[in-house]
């Protein structure tokens, strides 16, 4: 076996009463891609932050290339050749690529030399790894995929031999993710060691050599990737068997609940994002909209839920039109039985500074159930929140806790619980499980299917093809603002992938 690039021995770390890491032992071989999987809150990021010197372990030992290392600050880690690409990019948005790359690694007190050096160094890295990026571009004007590339360049510029990536694909489109994986493979070929933290098992299977599984702060297993299966890993992560594909019966589609006709929507720049789309959503079925992010799905959702102005076309809810001037009262749509779980729960779905119980009635706060005269009925709201917490297994189960303190998966459950429990006739869900871990995905999928079985109409938009295929009774594929195909749930990934890439459409045009 190759020499270990990193050995972690008996690492412990607590935050107050929470033991984020307990007795972690881990060995990462040089020149490999090592995956670390686990649910949200399993302690993966904490462990890697300890390795990067961002936190100090309470006890334990770190060895880098066989030698005991004392890593007290990120500087120590950088000096040992450890680089990290954080989940939330550590970039200064209004700086140029060059400025971001040299920040903290300047050669001397004046910038001139540093910038010249970085410029030639970036050219070299571009040649060697195909990491192409305009050194003078401003970060906030770059797409996220390129921003991430800048993060990788930052680490390589500092001479990183070991590269840690924390949930790198969470913000990427499938194509960008594929590109990232190609880069990582290339890094590995050049002898670098890559540590990939993720909760997406597909990525682990696709790219890693070895994989370690964490659960509730402990390291439960390490496997060679080619000798394990997604099922085994999922089971190790959650500690019980997980249904990766929720079983469901045949849909019994009923009356048309939502009818979208010739809908055209432009975005704020005036670009047509939804181009003459028509489809029906019936009671008792789940319709999935697949597509690469940015092909008009977001705008479609916003138009249907009355948030965004539509240029033309109509949307009928139970045979009555929805106001498409963008001035529709969301409250009125709720009253008419249309519930909307927005794509971006942080900005649209929740007020993070509010307590959990407040968010669990947000938008329904003028419902007489939650009112006592002109005042909020706090007791009723609390009881309602507790009820939802229990039903949806929201953790921690404290309705007085600030929403920002819940993990991403649990925040999503708060939104879902709020919208589903209103018993709407039509449920529109954007990215139901974005940033949510395996156990919670299973739960959310089951709830959505239960809604369907109760005869509700459910529209799901997701960039996760697995999710679309697992949930939908009918799959609509969007490309460049149009629906380019409709398939049944038995459609293969390859078939849908071609549609998503717009291939069939071009062929048809020829």
């Amino acid at each position: 076996m190759a020499q270990a690039a990193i050995e972690l021995i008996g690492i412990n770390k607590s935050f107050g009463a929470v033991r984020a890491n307990r007795d972690i032992n881990l060995e990462i071989a040089r020149g490999t891609i090592h995956g670390i999987v686990g649910e949200n809150g399993a302690g993966k990021s904490t462990l890697m932050s300890i390795l990067y010197g961002f936190y100090q372990a309470d006890s334990g030992e770190i060895r880098v290339a066989g030698k005991p290392a004392s890593i007290k600050t990120p500087n120590d880690a950088i000096a040992l050749g450890i680089g990290m690409v954080h989940q939330h990019f550590m970039l200064v948005d209004n700086f140029s690529v060059l400025e971001n790359v040299i920040l903290g690694a300047e050669t001397d007190a004046l910038l001139k030399k540093s910038i010249a050096k970085a410029r030639s160094e970036l050219e070299r890295l571009e040649r060697e790894y195909g990491l192409e990026v305009d050194p003078d571009a401003i970060i906030e004007e770059l797409p996220v995929g390129l921003q991430q590339r800048v993060e990788i360049l930052k680490a390589l510029y500092r001479g990183a031999e070991i590269l840690i990536l924390d949930e790198p694909t969470g913000v990427l489109t499938p194509a960008e993710a594929d590109h990232l994986f190609r880069i990582l493979k290339q890094l590995k070929e050049q002898g670098k060691t890559v540590v990939l933290i993720t909760h997406k098992l597909r990525e682990i299977m696709a790219i890693t050599d070895t994989v370690s599984v964490m659960r509730q702060g402990t390291m439960v297993a390490t496997r060679e990737t080619r000798k394990t299966t997604v099922g085994e890993l999922a089971e190790l992560m959650v500690g019980r068997r997980v249904l990766l594909r929720v079983e469901k019966g045949e849909a019994e589609a009923g009356a048309v609940k939502l009818a979208v006709k010739n809908l055209t929507v432009k975005d704020s720049r005036g670009v047509t994002m939804v181009d003459d789309i028509s489809f029906d959503l019936r009671a008792g079925e789940i319709v999935g909209i697949a597509g690469v992010a940015g092909n008009g799905q977001s705008e479609l959702l916003e138009a249907i839920s009355g948030i965004r102005h539509a240029v033309s076309g109509s949307v009928m809810l139970d045979g009555k039109p929805i106001d498409l001037t963008g001035k529709a009262d969301p409250g009125e749509l709720r009253d008419r039985g249309l519930a909307h779980v927005p794509e971006d729960r942080h900005h649209v779905g929740l007020v993070l500074a509010f307590e959990e119980n407040e968010n669990s009635i947000l938008g329904y706060h003028d419902d007489p159930r939650y009112l006592k005269g002109p005042f909020l009925n706090v007791d009723a709201i609390m009881a309602d929140a507790k009820d939802k917490i229990e039903k949806y297994d929201i953790r921690p189960g404290n309705p007085r806790l600030k929403t920002a303190n819940f993990s991403g998966g649990n925040q999503q459950k708060i939104v879902l619980a709020r919208e589903m429990e209103q018993d709407p006739g039509v449920l529109i869900v954007g990215q139901p499980t974005r940033g949510v871990d395996v156990g919670a995905i299973e739960f959310i999928h089951k709830r959505l299917i239960a809604m369907r079985d109760q005869g509700k109409a459910v529209l799901v938009v997701s960039v996760e093809l697995d999710e679309i295929r697992s949930l939908s009774d009918r799959i609509l594929v969007m490309f460049a603002g149009r629906i380019v195909g409709e398939r049944g749930p038995e459609a293969t990934e390859g078939e849908l992938g071609l549609l998503m890439a717009g291939v069939e459409r071009q062929e048809a045009a020829e």
């Binding site: 935050f15 904490t46 990067y52 961002f54 936190y55 600050t73 990120p74 500087n75 880690a77 950088i78 990290m84 954080h86 939330h88 550590m90 970039l91 200064v92 948005d93 209004n94 700086f95 400025e99 971001n100 040299i102 920040l103 903290g104 690694a105 300047e106 001397d108 007190a109 004046l110 910038l111 001139k112 540093s114 930052k154």
Partner: protein, 323 residues
Amino acid sequence: MDVFIAIVQILDSTIRLSVPLLLACLAGLYSERAGIFDIGLEGKMLVGAFAGAAAASVFHSALLGLGMAILISVAFAMVHGFASITHRGNQIVSGVAINFIAAGSTIILGQAWFQQGGRTPALQPGERFDAIVWPGAEAVRDVPIIGPIYAELISGHSILVYLAFLMVPFTWWVLFRTRFGLRLRAVGENPAAVDTAGISVAWLRYRALICTGILTGVAGAYLSMVQNGGFVKDMTAGKGYIALAALIFAKWKPVNAMFACLLFGFLDAAAIRLQGSPLPLIGKVPVQFMQALPYILTVILLAGFIGKAIPPRAGGVPYVKER
């Protein structure tokens, strides 16, 4: 010709009046660019003015006075740092507290030490910074146009005036051409990026506040040792707040800051000049209106004429490592 002389005189006092604004504005620029809001510019200027005049009159040295002004002002900046960086307190509250302490303590100490109703003794020559007359200024004074401009506008200011205007290109150079400047701008935008790059966020912000303290100290010394021959209570009279307005107006850029301060200085100079004299067409304008003009102008300009003023993104937010 009279009109020309009048204009030169107004411009001359524009320069004199904009110097404390400019120094305070650049002071604020250092701290706000590093992500620390500093509403306490006013207070730091005031203690600087007091310490400068007091030390100058006691030790009979203008330079010692200036040194003391800077020292005390930096000390107050460090208090702000201790509260808002080390203890992650609210920066506005800390700044307001500093203003209160400055206003109260200068009067109390002034009365206790000098018994002149909160004033410091009038500064004698040598205890204050005198005007520097440039070579040939007297000789060319009578040359039309160029003469008055050279003699009045360019020559004949105190060293601190030239220093203030030299600080503009210097600050630009520090911010955009040095490692310290790069890091300072970065920490005001995204301190986490600075932290993960292995740089201490706290130390960087403290150093920014030291720069702020030095400049507010000089601004204070200018008020009590150049513009006035001694300290008078509350002599900053809101200049720290106008400097903050100028900073926003200037979108946190040094050269813009100079023009913003010159504009406010000009309004001030015009207000003094036009006091009581009727304006053509408008008639007599109340002096209060002229005094309020800088503020009115700020509101109007910020409301739409200068476009969006985007403050440093991490401004006002104490840095806490994320879990």
